[in-house]
Symmetry: D2
Subunit: 287 residues, 4 copies
């Protein structure tokens, strides 16, 4: 145990992998099938006074960070992994579907990474305002209209036309370098893949329906790269702590509700119910 | 003009890009929107006595290769590009859907690249025999049953079960490193994505319906990379010529029909009609 | 000509490659042997009233940039290429040897790219002050002592000890992720390679003596990557213009001397004479 | 323990890393500072009747392989790692300095990976014959003359001229794609770096003097990548076992001496004494 000592305040990476399988040995520990992941059955979560975990999956917090900041390193780490998978580079134009917590943190992180322009898309104007006015991480936002039809082929055509509208509205030329879906919505995915510039990258981070209608021929003839992002890999948590510590990413601004430990059940109800006013809900530990 | 001289027998790369756009300048000339591509409207093809093209898109043939071999460097180049996009490496297990000309050449090339095992899949036993018995490029072949249903969700489930069957039959463990679809069939794509090992690569090379039902959540949680392959990039044609010259890849074995220049129309009819007995159809030039 | 129109104010990339060789076709046009590079014999430079060049190697300047800014996009582009070669990523610790114009711009660009920490090293305190106090691009600076000896092996040992001192002073742990030499000095190179963390990257950007004493066994057993950086590749100039336009990189602060067109010879004398007070010397065109 | 069961005959990867440090977690376990590496002080080697090690660092041998083959998977794994670091791809031209066991296995593996041409270089004709006539892994071999001088700058110039000679002799054009040094000799390194094509890769695998004279400006202006290779990373040992099992790489042909367990000391003396007739020396275990 070299990186932490008793009494340290730490951010906890919630999954500890087996360290022995080929995924672990090759640096893809996010894929380890034997990971002990907090709150993923059969493993309990961290809602307890003490939680035992591996030292190397704990990251000391700088003194000026609160435990709330520490807890919120988790969604930031999710965003950092998504940008890693998306290979977002300085100068890139990045479009993000979904302005929930992950989508917003992806946008903030992309700006911190010197993305040239970041566009946020959501069906809630309130959430778009979070992106453009509160966090000021989006250089532009877009509220797509409701789909005109549910018939798969017609809807696909409609999605392609919305992609064109977005390119026009924001003068995206050939299209963005990277499109990230943090919504999981079937139409977002269709629009997003159509939006990508030729040779560009699309990252699926949001989870919705298992199977959707998908423009596979577009992927082929436009030489796209479609990637999935899941959990975190090496270096991601330290980067998340650093982004929060430097103030470049501010997940605490996403906290909409706070509950005491005794009110945990209510907290879960609020999250389950959801709605555009519910972003991050915190259950306070004993400080 | 440094690479060819008058009288050289050459393989011709059919597309010459603009050399000025960002795609051309960054090495992705396959994406250049202003490419002059033979037989892609408004450009004529090469069915003429003389054909004028850029010298650097011509590749001299070694003396022991015939002009037929030279003509067949084109589909080999398609296969080489697909393996480049698939990042097929020595030791990889590769599954290829479709045993038409491209699928077969992909399999031969994968073996030449020291792939550990290559599995060919097709709904024609005759074509599977080409893979396993004639070209001997497949270490195993699989003839999938007909789908039990056309209902999207049920068919998706069926596809996932076929993927499991394939893993079992060939003891693929976590699944193949790379899956390549050279069929364009909707069910092949569904089976193929489900088949990929976690963190693996899937390449869409075949073209069928524009929109299909697609297991996007699987892509996300299994950290897959889905790529499209289109045309050729730098270094691909020289590799194709070399593979044919060394005898490691033998496209001439795919020739099922030969026609004289005057019979060109018949040749096109044969290709258009298709069928499992039609692989490569050649129209002979004047030697 | 799609990207510029008559009357546009532009930054000019000084080299136009042949567009036909394998380097050009694969995106490495910086290596094209037939590049027409301004002021590289036998080609004249741009010291003339009119200069004819390829449109796609001209980059329009936003209205708020001056022609001086435009001229200074060149050294910024050199820095952008160096960071590209160094694969500098958000969160990286970067050490830069040399605080001349290129070294300083590399440091500014690294900060713009969300490098975690940037350390500047030079033998001139004045130049270190530029890094830490004027441009504020260095989180720390270091002035190495004079080498105790010129005997190759003893000097190599001394360099290794200085590398240790730097690690200690800045708490660099295993060492920086990326070391960039923009000095060309033999001792900087020795120190720099010894400084790199295991598996890290070292970029040679400065040019000094052709042959130097080099710790090759360290490269081997520490699994280092040593790269050279030369000229610019696709996407680099647009990124440079954007960095200057956004104010993240401020090359105009490096201007120490300005001369009229008629005084060009004096300008060259000043540059040739050099010294720690000479950074960028501009010859004004006719506006 | 999923991959082996009691009684399995296995190849043993000699180093087991800590599994907890950043190197281990990111897939670079070859750099773990806490690796227990057989026969690297303070750890004992495997010269004992029983050896206890981690199951996941044992690789079952196919039935048709002998224990000798299993023991010789180690140098093959070294070669596989070198080619991984060198990013050797199908169609590459590869030049290997040094035709000792590692150099020869690198050449055999490069051919198995569909390298277009492999050139072996050594100062022993006998070893060159091993490459070209016994293992038949080299398409060409070269015996460099003795350096005309020891004066560093003059020798550097001489090395550059030998590099030109090699390019001429084998019609290498711009130079090989990848140069691998498995000799550690100072002149080989100088020649090798000069030989690389622009944008090419050079891998330092052999270990000789810590510091040598090195053409650093050539690295810079020719945009070279210099890499070090050390030990093995994930996937390398399985590939080595497969290459031996398939007969593509035949390390048993390198065995020049065999000793019984009781004669171990003699075996070490023979290796220490070396000479061109000593390649691989085996100490037989109890079968």
């Amino acid at each position: 145990m070299k990186n932490v000592k008793p009494g340290d305040r730490v951010a906890i990476e919630p999954g500890v992998p087996c360290r022995h399988c080929n995924y672990c040995r090759s640096g893809s520990y996010n894929l380890c099938p034997d990971t002990v992941f907090a709150a993923t059955p059969p493993h309990n979560g961290t809602l307890s006074k003490y939680y035992k975990t591996a030292a190397d999956y704990c990251y000391p917090l700088p003194d000026h960070l609160s435990l709330e900041d520490g807890a919120l390193c988790e969604p930031v780490a999710v965003a950092v992994q998504i940008l890693k998978v998306g290979d977002v580079r300085p100068g890139h134009v990045v479009v993000v579907f979904g302005c929930g917590p992950i989508g917003l943190l992806v946008q903030q992180t992309a700006k911190a990474y010197a993305a040239s322009r970041v566009i946020g898309i959501d069906i809630s104007q309130k959430r778009l305002d979070m992106a453009s006015k509160v966090l000021k991480c989006a250089d532009g936002v877009f509220l797509p209209p409701s789909p005109a039809t549910n018939e798969p082929d017609a809807q696909a055509e409609w999605c392609a036309s919305i992609a064109e509208d977005i390119k026009q509205k924001f003068s995206l030329g050939e299209g963005p370098d990277v499109v990230i879906d943090a919504s999981g919505a079937a139409t977002s995915i269709q629009i997003g893949v159509n939006l990508c510039k030729k040779g560009g990258r699309y990252v699926q981070a949001g989870m919705g329906k298992e199977n959707i209608t998908f423009p596979i021929t577009t992927v082929c003839i436009r030489d796209l790269t479609i990637r999935g992002s899941i959990r975190y890999t090496s270096g991601v948590y330290p980067m998340a702590v650093e982004l929060v510590a430097s103030g470049k990413v501010t997940p605490s601004k996403l906290i909409t509700h706070r509950y005491k430990f005794e009110e945990a059940e209510t907290a879960f109800e609020v999250v389950k119910k959801g709605g555009e006013d519910v972003l991050k809900v915190l259950i306070a530990g004993v400080e």
